[in-house]
Subunit: 266 residues, 2 copies
């Protein structure tokens, strides 16, 4: 495995090439600083309309950065020299909503009828939060952010349905407004928080038991702040059980050629 | 016809009811102040994936506010008590890309296989420009804004293709930055301008001869500023010639229950 420090300030194409040649098979947090990372979900063409509509109807968790044509593994808008079958470090493969494989190369699993969707990722606004002087507990601790399935159903579209999934970051009370304004610029990366303060309002019974990621540490004087999360797509795959789907493995994102700042432009 | 002054400050449902009962069959500019107006385009389900993808790939001219299910004429997100077959003052009906009818009630033309798309409209940012102290020549003159087909092709999606259409507003040089910042907040209403200054850069040969709307008057010291325009959808229908389509008649928009300000929120 290549030294991570050499990838932190590499450009997007360099990190994708390291993934393609399997010199990098780990998580992508902190790599290719300044380039927007994306969630991947690919579904058969026969389900693509339903998923596209599901994303359009739920833009907070699923802001669309690119959609391929069926049979084309090149994301022509987000990274026209990339190949989605090989350029992520790690993939999950689903059959009827059940995960059947975790692989470093999706080529043997790719199908000509797959349509791939790339959606924005919270890494984009996390860099902006850090730049605005907000430290992030899970980054400091080297853990994964805590994520929760909420009681709030997504807007349904065709066969796709499922709960809104949120990520939670504890923010010092004096900086909550800064966090809202900073993340709120990034329509392409979940935008402003969906809720501030009361986990019960989202149907979250116990913050110490996240559904995905690691248990959080909330210090005195900190407010839990909740953002819509791209894992909503994985929850929808689990709830909907489409015949087939390929996604990134959590944390092992696709690195686009799009600069973080462009996800704040309208 | 009802007195326009009684509709200017009416709520969205009241204006829709006036259109439904044909007490109002005229343009909607200036009606239901504060409520976002929307472009309508409905296409058969067999073409809906292509059009949805066309809109997603071209979010500046076609920011999606709502998409119905096939056979459902209720825009459940944008106005859950409305009926898209009756609640606009005037419709255009297209067969194979050619306009075959202009009607005040689309019910006889609606089909069970139609999927309706509502996209954001420049009226939303025009109110914001006025509030920011930028007067609008076409509003002062009581004319329609000037619109142009550009040499810039939209990103294609399935059968849909066509040129980017832009609207142009002359802005005093000292206020161009204000116009960019003000409109740029509204992702749901075309956002910031696509070009400032040189019509030739967009392939526009003669500003005095717009492709849609009325010829503009540009005063000394004003800069032509170009925004992406929802008429891009009509140009795509003309270029693509889908079997069938129903749209609003230009200027006769659908009035949503969404407040203008919500089109600036992420």
């Amino acid at each position: 495995m290549i030294d991570v420090s050499s990838l932190a300030h590499a450009d997007a194409a360099t990190v994708r090439e390291a993934a393609r040649t399997r010199r990098w098979t780990g998580p992508t947090a902190g790599l290719a600083g300044g380039f927007a990372q994306a969630n991947l979900i690919a579904v058969p063409r026969v389900r693509a309309y339903d998923f596209l509509l599901f994303a359009v109807r739920n833009p907070k968790p699923l802001p669309l950065l690119d959609v391929t044509d069926a049979g084309d593994a090149v994301p022509r808008r987000a990274a026209p020299t990339a190949d989605l079958r090989t350029d992520l470090p790690r993939y999950w493969v689903f059959e009827r909503g059940r995960r059947v494989a975790e692989v470093e190369d999706a080529t043997p699993y790719w199908r000509d009828d797959l349509v791939a969707f790339l959606t924005g990722c919270s890494f984009t606004f996390e860099w902006a939060l850090l730049a605005a002087g907000i430290s992030l507990r899970h980054v400091e601790c080297g853990t994964n952010v805590a994520m929760y399935r909420t009681a709030h159903p997504c807007a349904e579209a065709g066969v796709f349905r499922g709960p809104l999934v949120v990520s939670m970051r504890p923010i010092p009370q004096a900086l909550v407004s800064v966090a809202v304004q900073t993340s709120g610029r990034y329509w392409g990366a979940h935008g402003a928080p969906v809720h501030i303060g009361d986990p019960a309002a989202l149907g979250i019974a116990d913050l110490s038991r996240p559904d995905y990621g690691d248990p959080p540490v909330i210090a005195p004087g900190e407010t839990p702040v909740f953002w819509a999360c791209g894992v909503t797509a994985q929850a929808a795959v689990a709830a909907t059980a489409p015949d087939y789907a390929i996604t990134h493995a959590p944390g092992h994102m696709f690195i686009t050629d799009m600069r973080d700042a462009t996800l704040a432009l309208t």
